[in-house]
């Protein structure tokens, strides 16, 4: 692990997120900035995959499913910067004829994406199905990963799949909850309190890990490695990852106003100036 490189990449992914959302004049920067360390850790340190030859079934590879599809900017940035498609394509985000739809879509065949998401609550079921197929295919060394918003846990389908995965011992699966405590109408406590999430998942027969510093890249890698060590032991694994919405930008952090709002030019410059300089190059904006 090259910590300097990973931190640098986190900073660049954040630059990408902010520039994409500003350029498109729409999108979801808050949750994307909050999940940056998770994506960088997952794609740079944890998952086994081959970005050069993308196949839908990903035979012999680990697979990731994004259930809370609105944080597509961070997903697209890490996919591009991990070699799935050209970095310059980030400039097409949310624009006409783009493969980078507002919410992830398999429709136009963007490498790295295996399911469309945006309507919340469906990703865990899909991930569980993929985990079952890995077992049937005897790809025992491969792990399925998924990410969900904390607000997304309001959806009933999530609990259908939580029940199923626990009862059926889906132990080649690591789900992560992006626990930032915010959703569109306010804090998760205001909208619909989640209660003791750890106890809830444990009572459904899941192994639960918690990481309070979800925006500390070392801690995120560490908890993902711990989670990997818990696979194959008869239980699905959950990581409750405490993150801060809008992390890295002072006027966005912890503020759910930035859930789905784009920064204007002045705000963009202010935000970018707060991020550490990187050794990467910004993607060029299209004309």
């Amino acid at each position: 692990m090259n910590l300097h490189y990973l931190k640098d990449l986190c900073s660049q992914v954040r630059r990408d997120i902010l520039r994409m959302v500003n350029d498109a004049k729409s999108g979801h920067p808050g949750g994307s900035l909050g999940c940056t360390e998770y994506f960088v850790a997952l794609y740079q340190e944890i998952m086994h995959y081959n970005p050069k030859i993308f196949t839908m079934d990903g035979e012999g590879e680990d697979l990731f499913f994004l259930s809370n599809g609105h944080i597509s900017p961070v997903y697209y940035s890490i996919l591009a910067r991990s070699g799935f498609f050209p970095i310059k394509e980030l400039s097409t985000f949310r624009k006409l004829n783009s493969r980078l739809q507002g919410h992830p879509s398999v429709h136009r065949g963007l490498p790295g994406i295996r399911i469309s998401s945006g309507s919340l609550g469906q990703g865990m079921s899909v991930a569980v199905g993929a985990a079952l197929s890995k077992k049937l295919n005897k790809e025992f060394h491969n792990i399925i990963y998924s990410l969900h918003g904390d607000g997304e846990l309001n959806e009933g389908q999530i609990w259908e799949s939580v029940l199923y995965a626990g009862a059926r011992n889906i132990d080649n699966y690591i789900a992560t909850i992006d626990y930032n405590g915010q959703q569109i109408d306010g804090t998760t406590d205001e909208v619909l309190p989640l209660g003791n999430l750890k106890k809830k998942f444990e009572s459904f027969d899941w192994k639960v890990l918690e990481e309070l510093e979800g925006n500390n890249i070392e801690k995120v890698i560490d908890v993902l490695k711990k989670a990997k060590n818990e696979t194959g032991k008869g239980k699905p694994v959950l990581i409750i990852l405490y993150t801060q919405m809008g992390y890295g930008v002072d006027f966005m952090v912890g503020n759910n106003a930035w859930h789905g709002k784009y920064p204007n030019q002045e705000e963009l410059e202010r935000a970018l100036s707060q991020l550490p300089k990187t050794t990467f190059v910004d993607y060029p904006l299209s004309d």
Binding site: M56, D57, G58, E59, L63, S105, V106, H107, R114, I115, S116, S117, G118, S119, G121, Q122, G123, M124, S125, V126, A127, V128, G129, A130, A131, L132, S133, K134, L136, N137, G156, Q157, E160, S161, L163, Y164
Partner: protein
């Protein structure tokens, strides 16, 4: 006029279950999922013979749709079975996003469709599912008429790459199609040739239409051309237009709401192809069903053999004017 023989009453859903078991032996990629209705869909045999490829999801249809999508990512061919109502309206968003928009090779297999579900009543009688499914881009919609055709369709969709909605019924109905029929997705089946009226029908109403055409010929010398539409989408426009251009009038018959059903699809073809002929739609008139015996319900909601006869008599008067 060609006559069809009722080779005995058989359940269409049994055709599904038995073909699925056959597929299980032939194709290791075929997997099956069910939401606590295994015996209702005749999936027991599959679950017994291939326990590792059968997934009992419990009463959680949304989860079933998602798991099916996930299994298809691992190159499996999932057949997800439940009642038509729970296979569609209950999980429409899941089908839309995780299957249709994601273009997943999932076969949604729906039994107990239409009024002939019978005594359970309106909560379980799906009269909207064809409309909902045909509106989804890329979705193939199949509605079979008897045991043999359901068997053949189940085998055929396993070889087709893409999402499919396969709809069939609950009661034992006349089994009259060929045992070893070719099932070609998107291809209409011309059952009888006639010059006076085209009957475009689907599902359980195909047999009612054949009975109606037999009576009309015997008593009034009316020659009906009966077309069995097992694939509602994509619809075999060529076969329908060819027949309607000959007979100059058409009646559609289906166990579904007027809105969104086969009749509307046929009307669209006729108008867009400038084939302006009288059309009569035999379908449920935008109401919910109720409890009753299957044949009592077909009669009460005016979609049985006699209703078809009456409507054709009116239609033929319109044609002459």
């Amino acid at each position: 006029m060609k006559q069809y023989e009722n080779k005995g009453l058989k359940e269409t859903r049994a055709g599904f279950g038995q073909a699925l078991t056959f597929l299980g032996k032939k194709n290791k990629r075929v997997v099956a999922l069910c939401a606590d209705l295994t015996s209702s869909l005749f999936m027991n045999q599959f679950s017994k013979e291939f326990p590792e490829r059968f997934f009992q999801i419990g009463i959680a249809e949304a989860n079933m749709i998602g798991i099916a999508a996930g299994l298809s990512i691992g190159k499996y061919i999932p057949f997800a079975g439940t009642f038509a109502n729970f296979a569609t309206s209950r999980v429409y968003d899941q089908i839309r996003q995780s299957i249709a928009y994601s273009y997943k090779n999932v076969k949604i297999c729906a039994s107990h469709s239409g009024l002939t579900l019978g005594e359970d009543g309106a909560t379980h009688q799906s009269l909207e599912d064809i409309g909902m499914m045909k509106m989804l881009p890329g979705m193939t919609v199949i509605n079979t008429c008897d045991y043999n055709q359901t068997y053949a369709a189940t085998l055929a969709i396993a070889h087709y790459l893409g999402p499919v909605y396969l709809r069939f019924g609950r009661p034992a109905v006349a089994n009259f199609t060929d045992e070893n029929q070719m099932f070609e997705i998107g291809k209409a089946v011309l059952l009888t040739e006639g010059k006076d009226v085209t009957i475009v029908c689907t599902g359980h109403l195909v047999w009612e239409a054949l009975e109606a055409s037999k009576i009309l010929y015997r008593e009034e010398g009316i020659e009906c051309e009966v077309i069995n539409i097992h694939t509602i989408k994509p619809l075999d426009e060529t076969s329908i237009l060819k027949s309607v251009n000959k007979t100059k009038c058409v009646l559609t018959a289906e166990e579904h709401n007027y809105w969104g059903g086969l009749g509307e699809s046929v009307a669209r073809i006729l108008t867009t192809k400038k084939c302006y002929v009288p059309q009569s739609l035999v379908a449920v008139n935008d109401v919910f069903g109720e409890s009753g015996k299957p044949m009592e319900l077909l009669k009460k909601y005016n979609i049985d053999c006699n209703s078809i006869i009456n409507r054709i008599q009116i239609l033929l008067k319109k044609k002459k004017n």
